[in-house]
Symmetry: C2
Subunit: 336 residues, 2 copies
């Protein structure tokens, strides 16, 4: 990985949205400067930008872009608002199940009657708040690690809960970064994260980029790594946290929690407050999203299994609250 | 999968060794007829035949082939024995760490002073004994399943402990086959088994071929499958069983055992008596073989992670005896 100056996953340069094109990682770092709503929608659809917090920011900056471009051509108030609203609806529709995308759009669109500069300012405020929030979470998580384990930490993480899913720090990987900046990080074991390899492609890239010593393993080697005393803690992100503390996260998280529990090492979940869903009583009340067969059986054009073999491809699993040592958010540490 | 008449993974047709070429699976079923020791050595080296019991048979049949070919050209006793012994040493050296290969060679070579027909007969006896042994193990395992669970069984298995690793029944997958023949099998969940995908490539193919309903999952989805009550038991093979009952098997077996234990379903190990190693006190005394990085980070020419990312690629893990419900061999059921 060529060392680059630190750049945000998604940012606003005054006139356009600038993103790291995640489809080119880990082999090339390509920045995309998106100057139109069409280009932004395309980037979201191609997963050039992904991850819940980053998508929230993309929604907000998309509305800013709409306002900026409309502002340039049209000063009539009613027409301006209608045009921005049309673009906003278009952006939110690109990934309709991504709650954060619609949330970022709605938050920013609320300022539409104040004109383009106010809209852009609101979107930038959302961007900065998001960056600030994961930084606070990251330091709180590093404090927690320091309180649970003496000396430099050896951490196992799963999937990518890093800067690439956020603005510039990440959640689980933000905690790793904070520990690294304190010189309290010894080593990170990252799992490749089948089927889409976010661990190999994105987390390993982020770790290489921050200069953190790290080793890649297949997902099913994590339990051995934990049992043999090769890590001091497991730190993961979360997609949803139920009211009772059950954690819904990337498929494969739960077996890591089982192994950590048996080995007696901390299992820490790093996630923003917005991930906690008080309306879902337990993890078993969450419907697990099933994704397409191709993610599992097609690999760059090659079919790994017989044609008639059926595939079950759940995207998430549920880690029971009693296996979770602590949940760290930007505001607090919760011990289920 | 085109239905073929049942064929053995490895067999003797009277003049030659016949194997299923496992490098062509799951897409093509190609039989190789190996008429020379050179051709057999090449097939072993290319992993066209693999799996401990199958390699034992390959060693035995290789010596038979040497005897047959030498016999055709040379009737002098001393020269005959020396020639067969030279070929035998060559066969055993192809995969020097595969204990069973050398064992099959040695067993058969013991008959070298009796002439070619006796050598061939000894090799065939070893082949039949191996086939008989896994069949006995398979039925004992199906009996055990019937005693532990009422009605048709839903089984999760890992890697390939099937006919392709043996002669024609397999160990864990032999138990599945026996249950299927009794009409006591509902469904099999097989894990793809990273990094080399023996589950997707070989186990799914065997299940399709026996007409058993089955579904493929990524390795790290198994714990969710078990937690959500989608299977009634986990059945796996073993590479070595320590004196205290700890089970060394393909990497990723241990987290399945953790999940089964928590869900309260049986975790069954199906393995021949020869797998039990009385000289190893516990699983922690076993050195875990580490394999090359390329298995993890190269996929058909594509590099999944940054160039500087290190890889840890252990081939096996250890399941503690207390997580094992029962070990089934061709002779008995052991409850650690």
């Amino acid at each position: 990985v060529t060392q680059h100056p630190h750049v945000r996953t998604i940012d606003w340069d005054g006139d356009a949205v600038v993103i790291i094109d995640q489809t080119a990682l880990p082999h090339r770092v390509e920045m995309l400067r998106l100057t139109t709503v069409d280009a932004l929608c395309d980037a979201i659809a191609r997963l050039a930008v992904r991850g819940a917090p980053a998508l929230g920011v993309a929604g907000a900056l998309g509305v800013a872009l709409a306002a900026r471009n409309t502002h340039a051509h049209n000063n009539n108030g009613a027409t301006f608002e209608a045009a921005v609203q049309r673009d906003a609806a278009r952006i939110a529709a690109v990934r309709p199940t991504a709650v954060n995308l619609a949330w970022g759009v709605t938050q920013t669109l609320a300022h539409r009657d104040k004109g383009a500069p106010a809209i852009i300012e609101a979107a930038q405020a959302l961007l900065e708040a998001e960056a600030e929030s994961t930084r606070a979470l990251s330091h709180r998580g590093a404090d927690l690690l320091d309180s649970l384990h003496t000396g430099q930490h050896r951490i196992l993480t799963h999937c990518n809960a890093g800067a690439l899913a956020c603005v510039d720090w990440g959640t689980a990987l933000g905690v790793v970064r904070a520990a690294h900046e304190r010189n309290h990080l010894a080593h990170v074991i990252c799992t490749e994260t089948r089927p889409l390899l976010q661990g190999a492609r994105l987390t390993a890239w982020e770790l290489a980029r921050m200069g953190a010593p790290h080793t890649l393993v297949i997902d099913s080697a994590a339990a051995l790594v934990i049992a043999r005393g090769m890590v001091d803690a497991v730190v993961v992100g979360a997609d949803r946290i139920a009211a009772n503390g059950d954690v819904v996260n990337k498929i494969g998280t739960y077996p890591h929690a089982l192994a950590a529990h048996r080995a007696g090492i901390p299992f820490i979940v790093a996630a923003p407050e917005s991930t906690i869903d008080a309306t879902t009583p337990t993890g078993n009340d969450v419907e697990i999203e099933e994704r397409g067969d191709g993610e599992v059986i097609h690999w760059r054009g090659w079919h790994t299994a017989p044609e008639e073999t059926a595939v079950f491809n759940p995207a998430f699993d549920v880690t029971p609250a009693e296996l979770v040592t602590a949940i760290v958010t930007e505001r607090r540490v919760i011990r289920p």
